[in-house]
Subunit: 228 residues, 2 copies
Amino acid sequence: LSRAHIVSSYDADLARLVGTILEMGGLAQTAFAGALAALAKRDAEAAERVIDDDARLDDLEEQVDQSAVRLFALRQPMAGDLRLIAMSLKISNDLERIGDYAASIAKRAKRLTMDAPPQATASLERMGACLETMLTDVLDAYRERDARQAMSVWHRDHEVDDIYDSVFRELLGELKADPRATSAGIDLLFIAKNLERIGDHTTNIAERVHYVVHGDRINRMRHEPAPV
Amino acid sequence: LSRAHIVSSYDADLARLVGTILEMGGLAQTAFAGALAALAKRDAEAAERVIDDDARLDDLEEQVDQSAVRLFALRQPMAGDLRLIAMSLKISNDLERIGDYAASIAKRAKRLTMDAPPQATASLERMGACLETMLTDVLDAYRERDARQAMSVWHRDHEVDDIYDSVFRELLGELKADPRATSAGIDLLFIAKNLERIGDHTTNIAERVHYVVHGDRINRMRHEPAPV
């Protein structure tokens, strides 16, 4: 094999791995959008689709593992490429988890009726919209190996945490005031928690992109466990 | 450098990486035991320790990433070793998350009073005891590269899920019956959820050990999103 041939199939293997991550990213975005539609419009069909599609992300995570191991074994990647492949192993898990959380939101949204506390639902939708932008931006940052973009996503996670804190307090108040609303209130509390966790995984991806580019970690002060 | 020297420093680097994962495992076990003590005995000091120690797991996860990248770059590991290093990147994240969930349980346990629903607390302790054994066993499986042991842990996760389902229903019933118990009930619900997530991460580690040994995945049928 000529040197040029080896290099070009290396590039192709690497591009395939990145492509699989971006495919996972696209599926996670679709799942998340479906979960938010299920929440906002009580769209049971959208919810069903999210739940049904979740297995595909599991399969792709496995495919990323296999591709990464193959690249390490056959291609001896170095420096930035090496870090990209290593972090892709972790990012695939973050995206698979985001899909799982979207499916959990969809399941809970499906059984909410239109008269579930509407103010809390509006806050959750706002949290969701914020997260959708963050997820899009962090996938761009991954594709472009853009640490600055990753950093900007990472800083935005506090907005999500702030909405989470206020919606949690609000729902707790409603639960205490009206025990008939208990089931719906608890579904909304767990949806809030799922959204907050999606924010954590998006932030994780931002940290991993930063590591790919710079070889070190963002200051971990923000990495405390989520507020309880 | 002689060939023997290269091989022996390869072994030393690999042993160091495995050692860091096992150190993380030990810290996760300690954190989890502390969280369960905080829950069972309302031991606020144990809870504080768990919360304070959590940052150490973040640091060690970063150390695993650095060691793995170094091994890939300098040592060209193959086959089982290569898969072990690749999966260690993911397992370090599972262990860091288990530490986070233990800290969340500790925070919630700290504010529970002794008169929080005692029956539900007993079920949660049972769930915790089951998980402690699973975590010990899966760390053994990792250290020994024992796929059979990993498989046995993986099969036990349904016990955890069964307790989770029944304790969730029980708590929901109590919340509906007695709105004064709302705050404690919700803390217990989230503790149950945190325990269930610790079970998922333990199961993930089992799957990753299986992949290290055999190069393929356990049938993913069990890998659905958790029951909501």
